[in-house]
């Protein structure tokens, strides 16, 4: 490479020119654009912006999606046959189905749905054939949510039929409860897809799943405009929808992982709804007249799991009871959660039929110590305590919660040795029955008592009871009978028995049922988030 003798630019002149250009650029950057403001303003009025940690979003295919954000969005892109309205999760209401009948059959039962007249965003009418296709694809895809239709509702390809264009029949075996099936169908797995559109985009027999990951073909109040991963999801109102959105024409879900960023953005008016406020910030928001602080319910439960296998520290049921007496639930809810939680001790979350609000365990360290002595551990014992990193149920940092638990247990002589690890590692150990004491949360897969009943009480379900090595034939039998019991009164009685049994001898110390704090700007009207995590965007307005 030849070296050239280049004359360097004479320093003084170029420097001042550079400086002036820089100054001009700097001014241009900080002076707000007056010009475009007017047009932008009216669009802003009909645009709802949510800021939150939406990083769990993996796909917008309603038959595959199984994460919270996925349900939130697909619930607005697609209609289900039946749904819940507002906050009332006790009664299933008509949606795409204008009415239905449940009738017993020799093999079990049958639900016959009559479809209302509706159109997809593509313009095509919603027909029974679309319903059959949507259900069959979920069963065939074997997605994370398929088990709801195959294992819980016990449906197979062919269980759902269409005698004519506006009638759908679900044939349900004896082993499934039609009421549970109805509850399941409100979930995004029951979202009805335009079968013609899905088939047109099928690749390698995937039922259009790859395309539906980031495109929509539903009859819901919104269509997907775009999804920029880790950045934003944008929805536009669907003019063909029967659940028409009158006031909101566009919804933007903006990824904001940090709660502090959400708070800043909400205060400056850049977003209208903040999805992940911490308990402290929520308290401050409650006294801010420019904001609305909403305590929305969840079906989540934070709990301690105690491994009850032979040779494990919590083999003796008296030791498990001691833990339940030792935990200061009120303290946790008051100081760590700042009131954003409900005191629960039984395994069915409040808000579901079958839940039991009884609180048999008062905060009684003396009683706990007595139980330890009776079980042959007057000097206490040591136990490894597995805890996750990051944020736990209710927005509390996991290590803060663990520290409180550790302190409570130490008071009665149980020396918990905290082992913090990433969630992935934690779950692996838990699933392998290798967690002696673990701090975790659970939420039911569907809004029904059985969503908790079976996993927590039935060892044979290979779920939470199994992970804690707790096998109780009476509990298993109760859970199984209650799951299929059709008579509502009998079912509630069975769950009362089950919850009383588990709260006394089970491997759990339930900590709390958190509220999910959502804060909106005071101009947002009609925002409701139900315990399932659903928000009906079409019902919202901005004044």
């Amino acid at each position: 490479m030849k070296r050239t003798v280049s004359a360097s630019p004479s320093a003084p002149v170029s420097r001042s020119l550079k400086a002036r250009t820089l100054l001009a650029l700097a001014l241009a950057l900080t002076v707000p654009l007056a010009a475009g403001q007017a047009g932008a303003q009216s669009a802003r009025q009909t645009t709802l912006v949510l800021g939150g940690d939406f990083s769990d979003l993996i796909t917008l295919d309603p038959g595959v999606s199984y994460e919270f954000t996925g349900s939130l969005v697909t619930g607005n892109l697609y209609d289900t046959l039946v749904g819940f309205e507002g906050n009332d999760l006790s009664k299933v209401r008509p949606r795409l189905a204008s009415s239905w009948k449940v009738t017993p059959t020799s093999a079990g039962s049958q639900i016959t749905f009559t479809l209302r007249s509706a159109k997809f965003s593509t313009g095509r009418p919603v027909t029974a054939a679309d319903v059959v296709y949507s259900m069959n694809r979920v069963i065939s895809l074997k997605s994370p949510s398929s088990f709801l239709l195959t294992d819980v509702a016990n449906l197979k390809v062919g269980s759902v039929t269409a005698p004519n264009a506006s009638t759908v029949v679900f044939s349900i075996p004896k082993t499934a409860n039609p009421n549970i099936v109805l509850a399941l169908l409100t979930f995004n797995v029951g979202g009805i897809i335009d079968s013609t559109e899905a088939k047109a985009h099928e690749q390698n027999g995937d039922f259009g799943s790859a395309w539906l990951r980031d495109h929509s073909a539903g009859s819901g109040p919104f269509v997907l405009n775009r999804w920029d991963r880790s950045s934003q999801v944008a929805l536009d109102s669907n003019p063909n929808a029967f659940r028409r959105s009158v006031n909101i024409k566009r919804v933007i879900l903006r990824y904001m992982l940090e709660s502090s960023a959400q708070q800043t953005a909400l205060n400056s008016g850049e977003i209208d709804v903040a999805w992940d406020y911490t308990p402290d910030a929520f308290n401050a928001a409650m006294s801010n007249s420019k904001l609305k602080a909403l305590k929305t319910s969840t079906f989540q439960m934070a709990y301690l799991g105690m491994n009850s296998a032979k040779g494990q520290p919590f083999e003796d049921p008296r030791l498990r009871e001691a833990v339940r007496y030792a935990i200061d639930q009120d303290g946790i809810i008051k100081s760590l959660l700042q009131g954003l939680g409900r005191k629960v001790q039984t395994i069915i979350p409040l808000g579901l039929a079958g839940s039991n609000p009884a609180l048999p365990y008062s905060y009684d360290p003396a009683k706990a110590k007595a139980l330890l002595a009776a079980a042959g551990k007057p000097n206490g014992f040591d136990v490894d305590f597995l805890v996750s990193t990051g944020s736990c149920s209710g927005g509390v940092p996991c290590q803060d919660l663990a520290a409180k638990i550790q302190a409570d247990l130490a008071k009665v002589g149980i020396r918990a040795n905290i082992k913090q690890m990433v969630n992935a590692e934690l779950l692996t150990a838990y699933r392998a029955q290798k967690a002696p004491l673990i701090q975790v949360a659970w939420s039911p897969d569907y809004p029904d008592a059985d969503g908790n009943g079976t996993p927590l009480a039935d060892y044979n379900a290979h779920s939470l009871a199994w992970r804690n090595a707790w096998s109780d034939p009476a509990a298993s039998k109760l859970a199984q009978s209650a799951a299929v019991e059709i008579d509502q009164a009998k079912r509630i009685a069975l769950y009362k028995q089950l919850t009383e049994l588990v709260v006394k001898s089970g491997p759990y110390a339930i900590l709390y049922q958190p509220y999910k704090p959502v804060v909106t700007s005071s101009s947002v009207v009609g925002f409701v988030r139900n315990a399932n995590g659903d928000v009906q965007f079409e019902k919202i307005a901005k004044k």
Binding site: M1, K2, S8, S10, A11, P12, A28, L29, T30, L33, G36, A40, R44, T47, V49, G51, I58, T59, Y66, K142, P144, F147, D151, R213, N225, R226, D228, R229, S230, S231, Q232, A234, I252, R254, Y255, M256, L257, E258, S260, A261, T264, A265, N267, E270, I271, M421, V422, N423, A424, E425, L427, T428, R431, V440, A441, S443, D445, P455, H462, S463
Partner: protein
């Protein structure tokens, strides 16, 4: 003479590229080993708490996780030779597509940060060296010390609080305003894409959003650059030929620009290259606080969910970025300092 030089240059570049392949291969091996040493199950991580055992097993089989590690590595490398970076275990989306989306965001931020770093750090370092042991020197050294010692996430939160929340001069987190729609993706750089889409409003919006995170990252790098520039310049200014040049009567400006800076440029370039490389591989904390959807955040969530194909993809990109930047710096050496040659 020029042709001979051109040929040497070409051979040099080819040799470096060949070496790069070896380096990147070593990188994949290291990343693979490390991500498989962690005792946790990517299937459980991907499918979550409620998944059943059959689902986990299905997942493992589908993603080849049930095969022995050596086989898994071989399969990965096989796909890599065909340009297939694989599919993310966590999102089931092609990793190449994810990287194509997240990398430009980091690139855009890095370019702005480096510009700020040079605009702040270089002059400061120069002034410090020229006014050695006087007030400007002291101030520059304090800036360098404080800037280097300040945790970048603290600076980021502080900057957001002061310039956005309190003063309202600059916008908040994100690449564009929350209620704006990004322009159709062409390059992945929002500023460029906005220009291509003839959308001046979004272009300015994107530029404004780049200022604060760019400044935060840039200030941090500027501190380092100040120190490096100062020490390199001091060393050069103390040399005999500088005294000679001054004695010959050359004007001060020419001495500094033409003789001193040029000779001091090697260590400065090296630091700049290193800074650029490390910024490119993702300033995770700044990206998190500014909700910047870049490589740093992607790498972190992949690592935490034991998504080893994604981790390897990111590591490869990082390795490639570093190697290319190093090559560029080495090539620039020759342009700046004729003593360096390709032999």
């Amino acid at each position: 003479m020029v042709e001979g030089g051109g040929q040497l240059l070409l051979i040099y570049i080819l040799r470096r590229l060949a070496l790069m392949v070896f380096v990147l291969w070593g990188v994949t091996l290291a990343a693979f080993v490390i991500s498989h040493v962690v005792p946790a199950d990517p299937a459980a991580a991907a499918l979550g708490n409620n998944a059943r055992e059959e689902q986990l097993q299905d997942f493992r089989v589908k993603n080849g996780l049930d095969k022995p590690q050596v086989v898994q590595y071989a399969v990965y490398m096989g796909k890599l030779f065909h340009g297939d970076l694989g599919v993310s275990l966590r999102t089931q989306a092609p990793i190449a597509a994810d990287l194509r989306q997240f990398f430009p965001a980091t690139l855009e931020l890095t370019l702005v940060a480096v510009v700020f770093a040079v605009l702040i750090g270089l002059p400061l370092g120069l002034i410090a060296a020229l006014r050695h042991n006087r007030a400007p020197d002291l101030l520059a050294r304090i800036f360098a010390l404080v800037g280097g010692a300040t945790p970048v996430y603290w600076l980021a939160i502080l900057a957001l609080n002061v310039f956005h929340e309190r003063l309202g001069w600059l916008p908040g987190p994100g690449r564009i305003d929350a209620y704006s729609l990004a322009p159709p993706v062409r390059t992945g750089l929002v500023t460029v894409d906005a220009l291509l889409a003839h959308d001046p409003e979004v272009f300015v919006d994107a530029l404004r959003h780049l200022v604060l995170p760019g400044l935060v990252l840039g200030a941090f790098s500027a501190a380092l650059l100040t120190r490096m520039t100062r020490s390199a310049m001091l060393e050069v200014l103390g040399q005999d030929y500088i005294r000679t040049a001054r004695a010959k009567g050359l004007p001060g400006g020419r001495v500094v620009w033409k003789h001193a800076l040029r000779n001091a440029s090697l260590p400065i370039l090296t630091v700049l290259g290193s800074l650029f490389g490390s910024l490119l591989t993702g300033a995770v904390l700044t990206e998190t606080i500014f909700s910047w959807p870049g490589i740093g955040g992607y790498a972190t969530s992949s690592a935490v969910s034991l998504d080893f194909p994604a981790v390897m993809g990111v590591t490869l990109v990082a390795g490639l970025a570093y190697s290319l930047v190093n090559l560029l710096v080495d090539l620039l050496y020759v342009g700046f300092d004729p003593r360096v040659s390709y032999a």
